[in-house]
C-alpha cells in the first residue's frame, strides 16, 4: 500500500498540517495500525522533494511538525493515475483497494469506476488461470483453482463494496 498516495489523496480536500494528516489517516485507514509520526514526516519530505506537495505555511511556535502542506497540480495528477491503475490481482488486496475507494469518495471521484476497473483486471487474471486450468493436468487445475477462489473472494468483496458505496460515502465524508 502506498502511504504517499494516501496522504496525497487526503491533501486533495485542502491543505493540512502534518499532525492533521496523521490523525485523518489513522481515523480512516489505520484502525489497528496507527501511522508512526516519523513515517508521515519522511513521506512528506519525499513528496516535497518530488514536487507533489508544497509548504503552504508554517505555524508559529517552531518545530518541523508545524508545517502546513498543500497538494500541487502534479500531486493531483499523480493521485488520479494511481487510482485509475488497477492493482495487480493478488490475494489480500483489500486494504489497498479500500484505501483507494475511500480516497476516491473523499475526492469525489468515481469510486464505482475503480471497482469496475479492478474487477476487469481480476477477470483478466482469472481468464488466464481458467485457460491454464483447461489445458493443464490435475495438479495445475488444483493450483489454479486455489488462485481462482481467492481472486473470486476478492471480487465478491468488491461487489459488496460497490453495493455499499452510498453508505460508505456517507460514512467517510461525514
Amino acid at each position: 500500500m502506498s502511504i504517499g498516495h494516501t496522504l496525497l489523496g487526503l491533501l486533495e480536500s485542502g491543505p493540512r498540517h502534518g499532525y492533521d494528516l496523521k490523525r485523518a489517516f489513522d481515523e480512516k485507514f489505520g484502525h489497528d495500525r496507527p501511522l508512526h509520526y516519523g513515517q508521515v514526516y519522511s513521506t512528506m519530505s519525499r513528496l516535497l522533494k518530488n514536487g507533489l506537495v508544497e509548504v503552504d505555511g508554517i505555524e508559529p511556535g517552531g518545530g518541523p511538525e508545524r508545517k502546513r502542506y498543500a497538494i500541487t497540480d502534479a500531486g493531483v495528477t499523480d493521485v488520479r493515475q494511481w487510482l485509475a491503475t488497477p492493482e495487480k490481482p493478488e490475494p489480500y488486496l483489500q486494504s489497498t483497494l479500500y484505501t483507494k475507494v475511500v480516497l476516491a469518495l473523499l475526492t469525489h471521484r468515481d469510486a464505482a469506476g475503480i471497482l469496475d476497473t479492478q474487477r476487469s483486471e481480476h477477470l483478466r487474471m482469472m481468464r488466464i488461470l481458467t485457460d491454464r486450468k483447461r489445458k493443464g493436468d490435475l495438479a495445475d487445475q488444483l493450483i489454479c483453482d486455489h488462485a481462482l477462489f481467492h481472486l473470486e473472494a476478492d471480487l465478491r468483496w468488491l461487489e459488496l463494496t460497490a453495493a455499499r458505496l452510498d453508505r460508505l460515502a456517507e460514512a467517510v465524508t461525514r
Binding site: A112, D116, T117, R119, S120, H122, L123, M126, R127, L129, T130, R134, L148, F149, L151, E152, L155, R156, E159, A162, A163
Partner: protein, 233 residues
Amino acid sequence: MTAETMAPAGSLLAAHDLRKAYGPTTALDGASFSIHPGEVVAVMGPSGSGKSTLLHCLAGIVPPDSGSITYNGRELATMNDSQRSALRRSEFGFVFQFGQLVPELTCVENVALPLRLNGTGRKEAERAALTWMERLEVDDLKGKRPGEVSGGQGQRVAVARALVTNPRVLFADEPTGALDSLNGERVMELLTEAARSTNAAVVLVTHEARVAAYSDREIVVRDGKSRDMERIV
C-alpha cells in the same frame, strides 16, 4: 444515426442506448452492447441491475422502450412478434437458471423440442438431439424425465437443447446458478467449447466471476447503465 453506424463493425448483435422501465422501476437506462460471432461476453453486475432485462431485450423477448437493437444488420424493432419468435427459434438458443425443461417430456424430447418447433420431423429431431446430448455427455439420460435427473445433468440437457438448432447467438442467464462449483464448471466448459466449435456468440449473464472467467470480455451493468470494460481501458 442509422443502425449501421451504431453497431460496431463486424458485430453480430448490437444494442444502443436501450431504455426499459417496468412501471415505476427503471430496468435499463441507456445500456449498450455488442458482440461478434464466436465471442463470449459476460454481462455482470449486482442483482436488480438490469442484466436479465438486457438479455431479454437483446433476445427480442422484451421490446425496449427506446433504443435500437440490430441483429445481423436487421433492426429488431421493425420485426413483429411472430418474426421475432421465428428468429429466436432458428438463430438463438437459450439456457436459464432452472425451470426450463418441460417436466413431462423425456430429456431427448426436450432437446429435440426447438427443432420440432421449427418443423423438423420427430425422428430426425431426436437423432440430432442425441448427437448433442452425446457431446454434453448426457446421452444416457435420453429416456428419463427431467424430474429424474440431477441438477447438473438437467442443466447440460438444457445446454444441449439450446445448441441443437446450431444457433448463432446463445443466451445464457445464470446457467450455473443452481449448481455446485464442479457441476457449474463442467457446464461452462461444455457450453463454451460447444459454442466456440460452432462459432456461436454467447451472451452470458452471471454474477459469478469464476463463470465470467469463461468469457472473452465482460460488460458491467449497474443501475441500468452498461460499461464496456474493454473500451474504457
